[in-house]
């Protein structure tokens, strides 16, 4: 029981502190919301056939998962490490698996709120509300692990300010070229091929299965996403340094 109490207390603290600071929540909720509303209303993106909101909703849901897990976890953990907060937690009885469990719990809680807001707004904008439960949960879990792992990988090796910059740069690159804002199929040939192998493209395709009208993800997509969900946490665990960078 004490393990559950510790994990819940830690997760609640992480959420409360994130809400109090605000900036990360703005990125996590504000940007996906902006993309959804703006490009649903203003038809400027080459979104192919179909109504913009139906094409955008899965992408934006994927973007929300990506920002909560990679940017949210990555930047906060990076600064916690940089300022020695992790070192202090390291001499409390909170074990590392419990800290990671708490971060995962806090991230999923954040995502639940984000996705609820985004899907309600999508409905208001006329989204066709196609929804499949198993792919939805699968996309959230695999996406959170893959991008959370990427955030932890960056947080565990870079110094605080460098981690902040790189996290935001990776976010922007994935947003532009990872098939988030522009579907991979619409990107120029080689870029599109790379986008298919990136976790962002795979996550969007998986979200397409969950929230789109047609099955967009083949087995290959799920395999790519699952592979990233193994590679990034393993790489993070292998390289993570809990002490501040000297």
């Amino acid at each position: 029981m004490s393990a559950v109490r510790a994990v819940v207390a830690q997760a609640r603290t992480e959420v409360v502190l994130a809400v109090r600071q605000g900036e990360q929540l703005l990125v996590a909720l504000g940007i996906p919301l902006l993309v959804l509303v703006f490009f649903s209303v203003v038809d400027v993106l080459p979104l192919g056939s179909g109504r913009p909101v139906d094409v955008l909703t899965p992408s934006v849901a994927a973007l929300a998962v990506l920002s909560a897990s990679m940017v949210g976890v990555g930047i906060s953990t990076g600064f916690e490490r940089h300022y020695g907060v992790l070192k202090r937690l390291g001499v409390s009885p909170l074990t590392r698996p419990r800290l990671l469990g708490a971060k995962a719990l806090a991230t999923v809680a954040t995502e639940a709120v984000q996705l609820a807001v985004l899907l309600v707004v999508a409905l208001v904008l006329g989204w066709d509300a196609s929804f499949s439960f198993v792919p939805f949960v699968g996309a959230i879990v695999l996406g959170t692990v893959a991008f959370g792992g990427l955030g932890m990988l960056l947080a565990g090796v870079l110094s605080g300010p460098a981690n902040l910059a790189v996290n935001n740069a990776v976010y922007l690159l994935l947003l532009l070229f990872g098939g988030v804002a522009v579907p991979a199929a619409e990107l120029p040939g080689p870029v599109g091929a790379v986008a298919d192998l990136l976790p962002s493209g795979a996550l969007i395709a998986a979200m397409g299965d969950a929230l789109g009208s047609a099955d967009t993800a083949g087995a290959g997509t799920w395999l790519v996403l699952a592979a990233w969900a193994v590679v990034t946490p393993v790489a993070a665990a292998a390289t993570f340094s809990w002490a501040p960078r000297d």
């Binding site: 830690q10 603290t13 502190l17 109090r20 300022y83 907060v85 070192k87 202090r88 001499v91 009885p93």
Partner: protein
């Protein structure tokens, strides 16, 4: 079994040896101060106790446990205050003590009361980054105590505190000792060690140059005897030297040292002379050497 056992400890950073064969023990219900100048190896020593680094040679045991190998069993039983530790920048003290209480299996009954104890009641809802340095320091102490530790390791606990904060921290440390807790602290301030510690371990360039109570250290000291006192700064030291039978010199404005046998009769002669002259005699210190003198000689004589 002692609460803390350090046996022939060696810690190296590359080619630099930070701790070079230190052995010492600390018992339950005592305050042991690791005293030494910056770079003496104090923090490196306590970091092996906290499990942050493995000894390059020798061994450390806390409550009979290996701080690295038995980490999970040990951490619930110790309280740690790191040097210049930061917390989440927007956490409130009341949230921090409750959070750390939740991490411990047997925390204090009322974590909020700990904030009263460290004098942070009025600041319990102020976010960490708006606390003063001293308040942050006192919060760090509260977090070290929230799990009802049997051993407390405090790295420079009074550094950066004002007079009030120091008094508070000192009284908490004495209470811990009286409750049977083993308190191990580091300081480079002699005054702090003298006020707080039951025993002092003097470290110099990674070596233990002395270990014992202040009385033991002073008794073992082979330095010249002296009597210290304060009086008017225009004191006639030449006349007093003749009376006491040894040289008297001013150490500072109004403070003097007589290099004479430190005995009751010397003190009587000194007091008598002041009475004859109608001068005010301030603090007189005889018999026991000041830790500062002992320490200076230890460090100067160390190889």
């Amino acid at each position: 079994m002692s609460a803390v056992e350090i046996e022939s400890l060696v810690v190296r950073y590359g080619s630099v040896t930070a701790v070079d064969g230190v052995s010492l023990r600390a018992e339950a219900g005592e305050v042991l101060a690791l005293l030494g100048p910056n770079g003496a190896g104090k923090t490196s020593t306590v970091e092996t106790l906290e499990g942050f680094r493995c000894p390059d040679a020798g061994s450390v045991r806390v409550l009979g446990l290996d701080p690295v190998g038995d980490r999970r069993a040990l951490l619930p039983r110790i309280g740690v205050m790191l040097q210049s530790c930061r917390l989440y920048s927007v956490i409130r003290p009341v949230e921090a003590v409750r959070l750390f209480a939740a991490h411990h299996p047997h925390p204090v009954d009322d974590p909020d009361a700990l904030l009263d104890r460290v004098g942070l009641r009025d600041r319990s809802r102020t976010v960490w980054r708006r606390l003063s340095g001293g308040e942050q320091q006192r919060l760090a102490l509260a977090l070290a105590l929230v799990g009802r530790p049997e051993v407390v390791v405090l790295d420079e606990p009074t550094a950066g505190l004002d007079v009030h904060g120091r008094d508070l921290v000192r009284s908490i440390i004495r209470e811990l000792r009286d409750d049977g807790v083993c308190v191990l602290l580091t300081t480079h301030e002699l005054d702090e060690a003298e006020r707080l510690a039951d025993r002092v371990a003097v470290l110099h360039r990674g070596r233990l140059v002395a270990l014992g109570s202040l009385d033991e250290l002073a008794a073992a000291d082979r330095g010249p005897q002296s009597v210290r006192f304060s009086g008017p700064s225009d004191l006639d030291v030449a006349a007093l030297s003749t009376v006491l039978g040894g040289p008297v010199r001013a150490e500072g404005p109004g403070s003097f040292v007589a290099e004479v046998v430190s005995s009751a009769s010397t003190v009587a002669s000194l007091a008598g002379w002041f009475a004859e002259q109608g001068l005010p005699l301030g603090e007189v210190r005889a018999g026991r050497q000041r830790l500062e003198d002992v320490y200076r000689r230890l460090v100067e004589e160390a190889p």
